[in-house]
Symmetry: C2
C-alpha cells in the first residue's frame, strides 16, 4: 500500500496540534518551490484543518487529495499533497486555542502515521516529519507522554533511539534527554554511551550529509574530571564507552571538556558532538542555531525529523510563523533517505 | 605601607608558575602602552625570573624596582614595575619544566600578596591579578589546593566567594564550581543561590562596567523542569532564591531554560547569566569568548581577576604567548576599582 508510481521517496508528515502553527508551516512548506517534486508528500491530519491552512497559507500553489482508504492499494498522488485523515472530523478547531479534542486528533494522526509506516513495504524509501504537539494536553489523555522521541520509541519497540539536533552550525546528540539533572550521572552507562555512539556513527552521513564525520564526546564533569579529582565518570564510564565504540568507528574522540568541545565544533574541528545530557548539548546548539535547528530521531527503522520549535499558540494562524525550520526538517528527511 | 604618592590604584600581580607563561605575559603587559600609567603595578614574584622575563619580553620599555622591605613605608614607584620577592631565590627555573620548588615559590608569592593586601590600608584602592598556577604541583605541597578561588576564600576567611567570567560577549557566574556533576543538585540551596545573586547584583557595575544590569538565572533541569515533571529544583530552590534576591535587586529574571538564557544573552537581552554549575556557564562562554575571557572573584574585600588561560608550559618562553587576556584582566581590575 501507499506505493508511489515512481520510486520517489515518501515523506509522511503529521499535522501536530491543529491549534498551533503546525498546519500553517506545513502548508507554507508545501507551497515552497524549493521542495516541489523532491518527494511524495502524505500529510496525516484533519482534512478540514489542513484544507483551511492550505487555503490561507498555500497561496494556491498545490491541491490536496484525500486518500480515502489507506488499506487499499491507493497510490499517493505525486502532483498533489496527499491527506490521510484517521477521523473523526475535528469540530470548531481554532488557532491559538488548544483543546482536548485537538490533542486527541494530534495523537491519532501520529499513531496512524506510525501504523502505516510500520506496516508498509520496505521498498519505497520513506521518512516521518512531525509538526509540534502540545505535550501537556496529550499527557492528559495519554499519561506519561513526554514527547515524540519517547512515544515513537515505544510505538516502534526500539531498544535505543537517539535524538540528534542538526543545525547549520552544530550537530549535537544528547545521550540522556528529558530527565532531571540529578539523575544524569546514574543514568549513564558504558553500554548506553557506546550504543549511542555506534548509532550515530552508523547514521553519520544522514546527519552531516558528508562521507565522514569526526565525532567528539563531551565529558560529564568540570575540566573533564581532572583525572578523577572532580568526578570519576570520565574514567569509569565515558572513556571505556569511547574505546568500545572506536572499534566500530574509529573517528571518535573523547571525553573532551564540555567547555572545549563546542568551541572545537564551532571551529569545524569536530562534526558531531555527543553530549551526556540535554542542556549540555542544547544550550550551545540553541546559541548558534536557535532558528534553524532540526530534530532528528535515529533508531526507528526510518528517520524522523521535526522542526525545532513548539506549537507557538500565540502566533498561530496569524501568518507570522516561519516555515523555514519545517522546510529544513523536510529537506533533511529527504537527504537522510538518500544517504540511508 | 605601600602607599602610593598619588592616589593611583595599586594592582598587585602574582607571578604564577615561573615555568609557565605567567612571567612572559606579565612582562608583555607591563610593556603595553595601553596599560602605562593606569595604575601602580606591584608584582609578587621571583626577582631573577621576573628580570629575565622583563629582559626578554619587556622590550626595554620599563624598569624593575625591587621593594626590599615591605614592612617599611616603602613607597612603590609609579614609573617602574615594583617587585616584591618573598624569597628565597629560585634556582635554575626553566620555561616548560615545572618543579616542586617553582610551585613553592608560586604559592609563597600568592600568600605574600594576600598577606600584604589584607593588612594594607583601605585608603589606597587596590586589586589582585593572578597569573596561572600549576594546580597539581601546588596540591603536592599544599594538599586540597584546587584553584585560586577556593584558596583565596580560605585565606580571606570569606563566607562566600563568587567566580565571574567576563568576556567581550558574555558574562557568566557559576553558582557551584569544581564539583562533580552528580553532586550539583544537592549542593544548591536557596541561600547559596540568593547570596550569590546578591553578591553579583552588588558588584554589577564592576562586572559590566555599566550602571545597570539585567541578571538572568539559568534553570537546572531540561525545559526548566517543565513545571516539576523533569525535576523540582526550579520550584523548590531556584524560584524562591530569585524571589528573595529580587527584594535586594529587582532586575533579576529566572529560572530560564538553559537552552534559552544564553541565546538571550547573545542577543543582549541579558547582561549577566548566573548558571547552576560550571559547564552550564563555561561551555557557552568559551564558545564565544574562548580567547578573551577574564576570571573575576568577588567576595574577598577587593576584586581579583586573572586571565582565563593556564600555564601553557608547552609554549612558555617561546614568545608565542599572547598577553591579551592578562592585559584584559588588568584593565578589568582597574575598572573594578574605579566602580567599586
Amino acid at each position: 500500500m501507499l506505493i508511489s508510481p515512481t520510486n520517489k521517496p515518501q515523506i509522511f508528515i503529521t499535522m501536530g496540534d491543529p491549534s498551533g502553527i503546525g498546519p500553517e508551516v506545513i502548508a507554507k512548506s508545501m507551497a515552497s518551490p524549493a521542495l516541489k517534486g523532491l518527494a511524495v508528500f502524505i500529510v496525516f491530519g484533519d482534512m478540514d484543518v489542513m484544507a483551511r491552512a492550505a487555503e490561507t497559507f498555500g497561496r494556491g500553489s498545490f491541491r490536496l487529495r484525500k486518500l480515502e482508504n489507506t488499506e487499499s492499494q491507493a497510490d499517493p498522488d505525486e502532483e498533489a499533497v496527499n491527506i490521510i485523515d484517521p477521523g473523526p472530523p475535528l469540530a470548531n478547531s481554532r488557532y491559538g486555542q488548544p483543546t482536548r479534542g485537538g490533542a486527541e486528533k494530534t495523537l491519532s494522526c501520529l499513531d496512524a502515521a506510525v501504523d502505516i509506516m510500520r506496516r508498509s513495504s520496505a521498498e519505497t524509501p520513506k521518512a516521518l516529519v512531525t509538526a509540534p504537539v502540545n505535550k501537556e494536553k496529550i499527557a492528559e489523555i495519554h499519561p506519561g507522554f513526554v514527547g515524540h522521541t519517547e512515544h515513537l520509541q515505544k510505538a516502534y519497540g526500539s531498544a535505543l533511539v537517539t535524538m540528534v539536533l542538526v543545525g547549520e552550525t552544530l550537530r549535537v546528540v544528547p545521550v540522556t534527554r528529558h530527565i532531571p539533572l540529578r539523575e544524569v550521572a546514574s543514568a549513564l552507562s558504558v553500554d548506553l554511551i557506546a550504543d549511542t555512539l555506534e548509532q550515530v556513527a552508523s547514521n553519520r552521513r544522514m546527519i552531516t550529509g558528508g562521507e565522514d564525520a569526526k565525532i567528539a564526546v563531551a565529558a560529564l564533569n568540570p575540566h573533564c574530571g581532572e583525572g578523577g579529582k572532580i568526578g570519576t565518570e570520565e574514567i569509569d564510564v565515558i572513556a571505556p564507552a569511547v574505546e568500545r565504540a572506536r572499534k566500530f568507528y574509529e573517528n571518535i574522540e573523547g571525553p573532551v571538556s564540555a567547555d572545549v568541545v563546542f568551541y572545537k565544533a564551532l571551529q569545524k574541528k569536530v562534526d558531531i558532538v555527543v553530549s551526556m545530557y540535554h542542556d549540555q548539548g542544547l544550550s550551545p546548539f540553541k546559541m548558534v542555531d536557535f532558528d534553524n535547528g532540526v530534530n532528528m530521531t535515529l533508531g526507528l527503522g526510518h528517520v524522523r525529523t521535526s522542526p525545532d520549535h513548539g506549537t507557538a499558540f500565540d502566533i498561530a494562524g496569524k501568518d507570522q510563523a516561519s516555515s523555514s525550520s519545517m522546510e529544513q526538517a523536510i529537506r533533511l528527511a529527504v537527504r537522510a533517505i538518500s544517504t540511508a
